[in-house]
Amino acid sequence: MWPNFPLFPDAASSVAREVDALYLGWLAISLFFSLLIGALIVVFFMKYRRRAWRRFGSTADIKTLPVEVTWSVIPLVIALSMFAWGAKVFFDQMRPPADAVGFYGVAKQWMWKFQHPEGVREINALHVPVGQPIQITLTSEDVIHSLFIPAFRVKTDVLPGRYTTLWFEATKPGEYHLFCTEYCGTEHSRMIGTVYALAPEDYETWLATGRTGVPLRVSGGELFGRFACDTCHRMERATPELPARGPSLAGLFGTEVELVGGGTVTADETYLRRSILEPQAHVVAGWQPIMPTFKGQMSEEQLNALVDYVKSLPAGTQTADEDGAPGAAGESPASNAG
């Protein structure tokens, strides 16, 4: 009648088994204490039933302190140990390995839009290669959503106006549910999709067959020219006659940026995004706060492409030319794509 009646989810990512072990550990502890309490209640309920010869409970004065300390300390030790174990798993869930490939995702009522680094776009579907860590940088166009892939045991809220990230490494080819888990309105339960984890060669085939797309960092380079970012962020092209009016972005990503008025900030995706939309929020030390805001002028997808482009600039890069082709000097960012 119901051919498909699972009681435990598929485990298909590098962290899934870790989460399951932690869960089963807690389950064992919970079972032990529930059964202990349950059994004691049943035994006492039977054994000390009120009788004519036992109309009152014992009034013996028992020293409670040693008992109380014992049954406070034991749960405390267990809870703190489980906290530490949980924290270890949490770090593994939250921290992507250095070689994670960057995907982008945009959520809106009520669909998921994903973009591969190669530029291929998908809606409510996500094809990923098995064995390759993938980090998805996510944002929302409207309300808060949450991206959840049960088989991978990962989840993150997706917020409007900022980036959050989710990383996973699929370990088993297959098709897995992808859910929105933050209530987001009428069609919340239809904001679902499928993750297709493919063997690496199948993934290459999938990418190669009829998918078109300009690699993000290339389209980002075009946008860099179109929005005239390079008139100020001139980088290597700055000359004494035509000095740069904004800091060089080459090799910026991942560094600590010194700010006007002291303090530093790490140049991550969120920083890049914020600097484009709210340039006055973090002004780089040594520069004037003259950059205009680009809020409302570009779509989330364009913003993602620009961020990806800036991320891809190695130290010593020249910016893209006006026609959008990658700069000639230094390593061409486009050649990294794929």
Partner: protein, 542 residues
Amino acid sequence: MSTSAATALPEPNYLSAGWTLRSWLLTKDHKRIAILYMVSVTLFFVLGGVFAFLARLELLTPAGDMVTADVYNRLFTMHGVIMVFFFLIPSVPAVLGNFLVPLMIGAKDLAFPRINLLSWYLFMIGGTITVAAILLGGVDTGWTFYTPYSTVYSNSHVVLTVIGVFINGFSSILTGLNFIVTIHRMRAPGLTWFRLPLFIWAHYATSLIMILGTPVVAITLLLVAVERLLHLGIFDPALGGDPVLFQHLFWFYSHPAVYIMILPSMGVVSELIAAFARKKVFGYHFVAFASIAIAILGFLVWGHHLFVSGQSTYAGLVFSVLSMLVAIPSAVKVFNWTATLHQGSISRETPMLYALGFIGLFTIGGLTGVMLATTGIDVHVHDTYFVVAHFHYIMVGGAIMGYLGGLHYWWPKITGRLYPRFWSKISALLVFIGFNLTFFPQFILGYLGMPRRYWSYPEEFQVLNVLSTAGATILGVGYVFPLVYLLYSLRRGAAAGDNPWGAAGLEWETTSPPPTFNFEHEPVVTGGPYDFTNVKEALFDE
């Protein structure tokens, strides 16, 4: 016993003090106000229950086919709003607490009788506004009102609903204030702090949360209304606001609010266990201080609702470890109750069945709560049915079991009447079985990955959902029973006498129902609580 002779109640009593509508609506008697609350929270409970049952019916099949998605979203939202704000938060404190706090401490009334009546009116005004919002078409944000959905995107009666909840909050604040002043100032001679029943300690702790936490949620909901009406950027990033700020403010109250719901029931359970084991509660001081510890620590754990909200990993860890700490006083309570049973004289009356059910279900609810506080697990089960199951084990398995247990325990005191014991035991059993069948499958569903607030779902989740709906049906029947036999007892129940259970405590030393000013002579207390040596005239000893 012969019914005709046994139906005469002692006169004068607070019920016979007046029969007119005016004598009820303008009463300053804490016992009558408790009755007003009892009637109103029961109506809200029925309303919230109907919404829940309709939602469960929709979930019988994977496809969304009984109601539309919009209707379903309104059903679970209004179920949550009504149950949390208009049933769970007021149920034990405003009904049983109102009735019993003065009686248990030997006082004539609460410190501020007029404010007590005012708080019922505020409750009713807030409730009426919320019901009006429902009748106009309802609200679809979830009871959590997350922004910017609630402030910008929802096409439902958000403002009206939050105004209702806002006003209701003041009712809660005033009740808390009244309890704190009463407990400080109006204890009978000789009733020192450590002679107080644990019910009083629990209500004291609850009142602290009501006073300190409720203003925060009131302000937060006001800000939601302000942003929605005036488009001031507070939470919506498009207007320069911060959507996660709302979650911090909301949970700063709403996590402690969980303890507003469960602490009074814990107080009830302490009374029941002592009375029906005829034994002093084991580790009295530890149980008392556990209530206070829960109230204080409860304010430091809100961030465990935000592990996957983009909150920093380290903030998540701090909230995780603090949440683990709240589990300790809760565990201490469970161990102490269980130890109280040891060498007790255990009666099998209905209130005791509820109390024992409470301990079992609260243990499961608490343990799964600590699992959720474990960051590595929460990432997976956050916002799934695992969370739904967990908090229903605390709210329904805990808070409502405590309320029903307390209601069955003090009903003879409140009404002067006995209810049919057989049917009440059957109903306690139905509630226990129905509850577990409803919510246990949801733990499995949650770990499988079924998100909460889903109108339709993948078909492999159907079997567990069918079990859950079947359980909800049994649970519903279990709840209808007391509604029937308790009302029946009002007319046909035998007179209970002052102390039918052979319990200890000042409330059992006056008549049932008590006179308007509770005691003929101000009682003088000479010993600690739960002293059964002078217990007389128990109706139901084996």
